[in-house]
């Protein structure tokens, strides 16, 4: 599979596999995945439970390392990076949105949004303004000083989205971002993701949500850890 446009892909997977040791036998979560995603694309990954969608997203996001094949992000071989380099890459290049929001409960909303800035090396003086700007973008400034426990599901996911955006990453990854939300708030998050894509972010989304999947120009279907041939 190659990128639709002629430029060098942002994400390039070549024969990527991931297997886990379960008991005494190896279980393959991903097999021989070859995939290019161009800069500025919106790609949705769909597939039944256990098809390897989240594993694929975690590898693309640098949270997990493949056990086979090669992954390059913007031309850089990710599997060759040290833990510190990979951490820096996650910090600067990748924004993650999780199904369970994963906000830190003892921090306020704006502090949660600031969390990536802690590890960015940027001067502390600019953190608050930057985080506030991102909260404005997701429309959550009125909740800035609240704790995550005081937020509704939609608000929590918007806070998580603001956190993913705070270092303006090129690649935005969302794992079932609407999975824990009702359809109205889910739609709201989908609309925000659409806006971010329109702003130039590359969005890779894993979802079960049919309507959300339909918004994406490019859909990749996974089954048993492998990419299914493109739908007609």
């Amino acid at each position: 599979m190659s990128a639709p446009r002629g430029e060098a892909p942002l994400v390039a997977l070549r024969g990527v596999g991931k297997s886990f040791l379960r008991g005494t036998s190896d279980v393959a979560a991903l097999r021989d995945v070859t995939l290019d995603i161009a800069s500025g694309e919106w790609v949705t990954i769909v597939g039944p439970s256990g098809s390897g969608k989240s594993t694929l997203l975690n590898i693309v996001g640098g949270l997990d390392r493949p056990t086979a094949g090669e992954y390059r992000l913007d031309g850089r071989l990710v599997s060759a990076l040290s833990d510190a380099e990979l951490s820096r890459l996650r910090n600067r290049a990748i924004g993650f949105v999780f199904q369970a929001f994963h906000l830190i409960p003892q921090l306020s909303v704006i502090e949660n949004v600031e969390t990536p800035l802690l590890y960015s090396g940027l001067p502390v003086a600019g953190w608050r303004a930057r985080a506030w700007h991102c909260l404005e973008r997701v429309g959550l400034t009125q909740r800035a000083e609240h704790r995550p426990a005081e937020l509704s599901g939609g608000e929590a996911q918007r806070a998580a989205l603001a956190r993913a955006l705070v270092l303006d990453p090129r690649l935005l990854l969302a794992d079932e971002p609407t999975g824990n939300l009702d359809s109205v708030t889910g739609e709201e998050i989908a609309r925000l993701l659409g806006e971010l894509h329109a702003d130039g972010h590359t969005v890779v989304l894993v979802t079960h949500n049919e309507r959300l999947a339909q918004r994406a120009p490019r859909v990749i279907a996974l089954r048993d850890g492998a990419i299914e041939p493109a739908r007609p």
Partner: protein, 419 residues
Amino acid sequence: MSASLTPQVRALPAWPLSVPLRTLILLARRNVLLHRLRSALSILGVVFGVAAVVAMSSVGEGARREALSQVAALGIDTIAVRPAPAPGPSDGSGLVLADVESLRRVVPGSVAAAAVREASLGAELGDRRSDVSVAGTTPEYARAATLTLAIGRFLCDLDLTDGKRVGVLGAAVARQLFPLGDAVGQLLRLGDDWYRVVGILAERGAPRRRAGPIRTRDVDHTVFVPLSTLGPAAGRAPDSIDEIVLRVDDGRQVARAAEVAQALLQRHHPGAAFGVVVPREILKQKARTQRIFNVVTGAIAAIGLLVGGIGIMNIMLATVAERTREIGVRRAVGATQVDIAAQFLVESSLLTSVGGVVGAALGMSGSIAIQSWADWPTALSPLMLLVALFTACAVGVGFGLYPAWRAAQLTPMEALRSE
């Protein structure tokens, strides 16, 4: 919108700690305050460990300084001989004036010897009145006990032969009776007689008066008068004296001099017992006791801090387990392993540092309490406080290392999946 990734990643520093230390400390403070009771309980071991170190070393330091000042009060090459305290009234078998001369002659290397007769008299000056210890002695005493004058003169031979009523004041007596400092030339009433002050001694930092087999004269609180003006106590022979102070020319010979003095006096006064105070020996003996005390103190402190450290490690392991998800989130948004380890290390060090400060305060209060209630001399040295605080901080780092390492070893995926 965004610059190319590659230069951004390359531009970051090679040092893997990316969080500013100040931010780490603020974060740690917040997490410590979030569970106030738990934090307070977890540092108790360190608090008591440090308090024990501070209190006990202040007692040790106090004892050391007292030993030093006791020795300084007599001089390192001086010995003092007095009859051993006997139960009941004195049978008259004590020291006599003639003993001074024989000691001076016989004891090898002796350079000065002086007789002392003691009395405790009421001192009166206008409306000020207090009890002072009065020592009747000879001019040689100044040399034998290495006294230094602050002002005026010491007793002279003429004072002695003429029985002049003159006195030389210890520094503390002078301060007490003549707060304005114009003592020399003034008259002072001691018992029933008036004495003219002719000199004041330099401050000596005298030992505290305490019961015990060894007594040394507290020079600062003594008034020295000619021996001839202070008669012996009622019922004693007219030539009886209370103490002989002897100085030898070589400090290393004091032990030998003490033996000779002891033997000589035994021969002159068969059946009587004498105590010989050898400051140098006291110092050696105290140093030995001090070493044992230091070892015991050190061992107790080490056990206290070990227990404290284990408490900290325990609570930090629980904290890491409880905050695994947070660790995952932080790793996902860019924290390196070093960042995570540093976060928990700063937290454990903050806990033990607070424990150290509280413990030091408690130890200092304990030291003051020991001084005022048990009447033991104590002394706090700032260096010791610094060492205690530094040790507390080091316990935090030392016992926080393993939990921090455990936290750093979690992969982002494991940490995020934890429930």
